[in-house]
Amino acid sequence: MSEGTVVDRPQESPPVGLVWRRMHPVTPAVKGWKVVVVLLALGVQQLGENLRELGDLMGTNTWLIALAVLGAGALIGFGYAAIAWRMTRFAIDDEAVYLHSGVLFRQQRKARLDRLQAVDVVQPLLARLLGLAELRLEVAGGAGSGISLSFLREDDATALRTELLALAAGVRRVEGTPAPVPAPQDSVLEVTPARLIAAMARSGGSVVLVLGVAGLIAAVVASHEIGTIFVMVPAALGFVSFYWGRFSREFNFRAAISPEGIGLRHGLLEARSQTVPPGRVQALRLTQSLLWRGPGWWRVEMNVAGYSGEKVQVTENVLLPVGDRDQALLAIWLVLPDLGVADPRALLAAAMDGSGQEEGFTTIPRRARWLDPLGWRRAGFVVTDRALLIRSGRLTHRLVVVPHERTQSLSLEQGPVQRRLGVASLVVHSTPGTVRPQIPHLDATAAGALMTEQAARARTARAGAGPELWRRPVVEP
């Protein structure tokens, strides 16, 4: 037995009088390819296993059978995609986006625009060549609660995004007025391909690669057998795909700021353009690995409700793939224009590279240093009027920033060793994502006080936070 009390989960049928629209008619042609690709992959795999019998196969009818299977698969794939296209339609009103889809299992989904967390325009390679795009709406409802409109014409997708963002911001639609124009975007952060390649070269994977190659050369020299190299082919392929994936995803990265929010664009083959409205970033994390310490580079990741951050192959959580110190500070500024302190640069300098108690940081007490022998001087926190800053990591410098109004819940934890030493850990619960803020081994009394204060601060900050409909006060033309 399970009964749920729904605080906020309306389940009514869509209002009448909606204008229902379909996806672009070319959609089945783009989506249907997946079946053919899977069949081809299976075929190639089978062929690979029977490479020796290839000669025997050439003369027989096997090729015809394979072609027939492929043809039937294509027919099924494209046919299903065509039916699915027929069954899919969407509509928009001032409150929500409605999507009806599904062939066997019909699905009706409604995404409330006041809950909109992010809008992405994604263009896989094939769609990009055809001038199509997928529009993805992330609403705060856990995994799989977003709406994906695929595929639309690229212009339609961007126009729709502008319209949805305007509606979500509280700008009402008036009949007869021209569609809202996209807000002007000022590009503020850019990552050049050269910087990206240099950053990847200085990653932990490169260390493994160098060691691996050195070990391989040693093995070849020692064994006098050049064949040893071929053992490493799968590992080499893995490295190539890892580097290539990261390069192509983060290629040509640029971030912009506009009244619509933070705009991010990146991608070499699959182009992705994300828009995160103001106040939707739940937490930030700056990371600097040991190899990036020399050039002073940082990577900035964010938590946005709806972006799961669980898939490694996705860069939707990245606010800045690599950037120098000023760019990292700019990335923080994009999310939190006001840190609530008199001298934010000095505070952030202490938070990014400092250690000890300077700039008001509270660190792990000396008596508990054995719990974190390397980083105990660095691990700590500071509270400003607007956010909680958590610093950690001696080798890899990390800084987590959680705006007070974005704190979900808090928990205090204490194990037996920690109790002996009179320390406790505080965990700040944020939405699912790569950033998991926690402050380990604080003085127990301080941790308890911080928990109480932080709960109160979060409440006050929420009461004073900007409106959900962030452009409502704007006078309409």
Partner: protein, 167 residues
Amino acid sequence: MTSQPISAGPFDPPNVVWSPVSPRLSTARLASASISLGLPLIAGAVLAALSGIVWLWLIPAAFAAVLGWLGWLIPRQVRAIGYAERADDLLIRKGILVRSMVVVPYGRMQYVDVEAGPLARAFGIASVQLHTASQITGAVINGLSPVEATRLRDQLASRGEARLAGL
């Protein structure tokens, strides 16, 4: 379980009156442990008795020892669970060896679940789980009487609605 000024650590904030959960939760947990450990205990004992190998008695003895330890531990664990409704948030604390305390602001609750499995229903207890936009909140109160669970749920839902903010 009232707050004691002597033991006022971080897990005993001032002016908080903790509500305990039903002792029937210990009964339910002990019953569940008895079934899952008792059956292998009996099977081991029968095996040892039939085979006549002396060292085989170690198997049921081990199970009996674990069962005895759980019989000592579970009531203490259940007594350590407490929750407190404050003006703006709900506190839940649990654990003896590893202690934890969660604070969930009412305005952050997305929805509240009341659950009771077959075993829990047989013992007349239910659990209330609070869901926020964070998956790791993990705010569950086990071992409430069904009446208290329903009251708490309605109370939380109305307080949540009054204070609901965006994410």
